[in-house]
Symmetry: C2
DNA sequence: GGGCAAATGTGACATTTATCACATTTCAGA
DNA sequence: TCTGAAATGTGATAAATGTCACATTTGCCC
């Protein structure tokens, strides 16, 4: 736990950028930064949702228990609010958040956050925009994932890692095969086989967890055609 | 198109209930009710999102083009806002909305709606709650659907129709087999076969589009175990 | 009511994916 | 460095689902 300096924070959310100086002071008094290591649970499905979680740095998986096991709903990269829907939408967390790499989270008192919504229209509007954009992204991903076969889904995740998360064609895969299977709703064996296939065909190189995308165009094709 | 009387409207959204008398007058001046028949498109993917659509009465499917065809993202029953995420989240509609039965929609000027968000904190908060609850429901459904096999997915939809939409174990199915297949991401043949199976096993009776659920307990089991 | 387009039912077969079993590799902690 | 648990790779087989083809039914419009 660290004493935050929200005013000086260079990683404020677009909404927090719109807070007044007084409001930022209030935020500082009602906010606590906690550092999580890879694998640490940030909040857990079934527990009371009492704080807003803001991912300042790091990478997090948001996941929920399903009929046959865990389902990864989305990856969240910093900076981003982590669980607005589960904090506002229900008293109890409907899903969990777990750090995939070392991450810094600011926990903000729910009362304070709600006060900002009530008193600062720009802040509220920015939060609404954030919720809407996230939902659009979810819909897009949901539609894609549900209509593609496994190689297409896996290709989509690799491309997303490369383009959105790490912005490089070489990166350390932050998910193991089991997590990948939770993400694309399949078995870990299928993930293993498909990654092997990608390697054999020279589309990627896997060195332990380090992945290099060699033939991005082919991966795109696999992703698009499903 | 009809002259709305928002003040007297008995179907106001929870958010609109929190508007002041003045704001309701403003709403009346910036709102138009349009009636849609079964099959009519309310707003279409790819077109500019210029109004808030509020479903006053009726039933609507929200759907998006995917890699291999249409995907039904969710059914919306009245009363409910129809496409907040696509109206706020992007200039262009990311998905379509189509009436499944005759429906009444109030189109609200986006500027007016945004003004309410900025000036009325309670209204803004209520909209945020609405967005969050919808997203939680989506996550739940997404997780279930992605981990269940086809009979489980179809059973879930039938139970949803019975419990949530029509509140009866006998109802007119508002989706044809093709739409059902767009909903659970399969082929229309598979839908046809599974519905036949349900009938043969005496779980449901199908008379044209009228469905009667006979053995709800078995349908629940099929839905839960996937 | 007749005729036509759309929707539905169903068999045969191909493809995809899950499951089970077990070998091998990796990695963290003693 | 050793060691055991966790993660991964891979073959064989079963189960689920898609695809194609075509018959039948339904519903709508004249």
């Amino acid at each position: 736990m660290a004493n935050p300096e929200c005013k000086l924070c260079g990683l404020k959310s677009p909404a927090a950028e719109l807070l007044t100086s007084n409001e930022l002071e209030k935020l500082e008094l009602n906010c606590a930064q906690v550092n999580f290591k890879k694998g640490d649970v940030i909040f857990r499905e079934g527990t009371l949702a009492t704080n807003i979680a803001y991912l300042k740095t790091g990478l997090v998986k948001v996941h929920m228990k399903g009929p046959t096991g865990d389902k990864i709903l989305r990856l969240m990269k910093a900076p981003s609010y982590l669980g607005l829907p589960t904090t506002f939408g229900d008293k109890v967390n409907n899903y969990s958040a777990t750090a995939l790499i070392d991450s810094h989270i600011c926990f903000i008192s729910l009362d304070t956050f709600i006060e900002f919504i009530f008193k600062n229209g720009s802040f509220a509007y920015e939060i609404i925009l954030d919720l809407c954009k996230n939902e659009l992204a979810d819909y897009q991903k949901y539609t894609n994932m549900s209509q593609k076969q496994l190689p297409g889904r896996l290709a989509e995740i690799l491309l997303c890692m490369s383009h959105e998360v790490f912005k490089s064609n070489r990166f350390e895969l932050p998910l193991n095969n089991n997590e990948l299977s939770d993400f694309i709703s399949t078995s870990r064996e299928s993930v293993s086989r498909i990654l092997s296939d990608f390697s054999k065909e020279g589309i990627i190189i896997m060195n332990k967890k380090e992945i290099t995308i060699l033939k991005e165009d082919i991966l795109e094709k696999i992703s698009i055609k499903g």
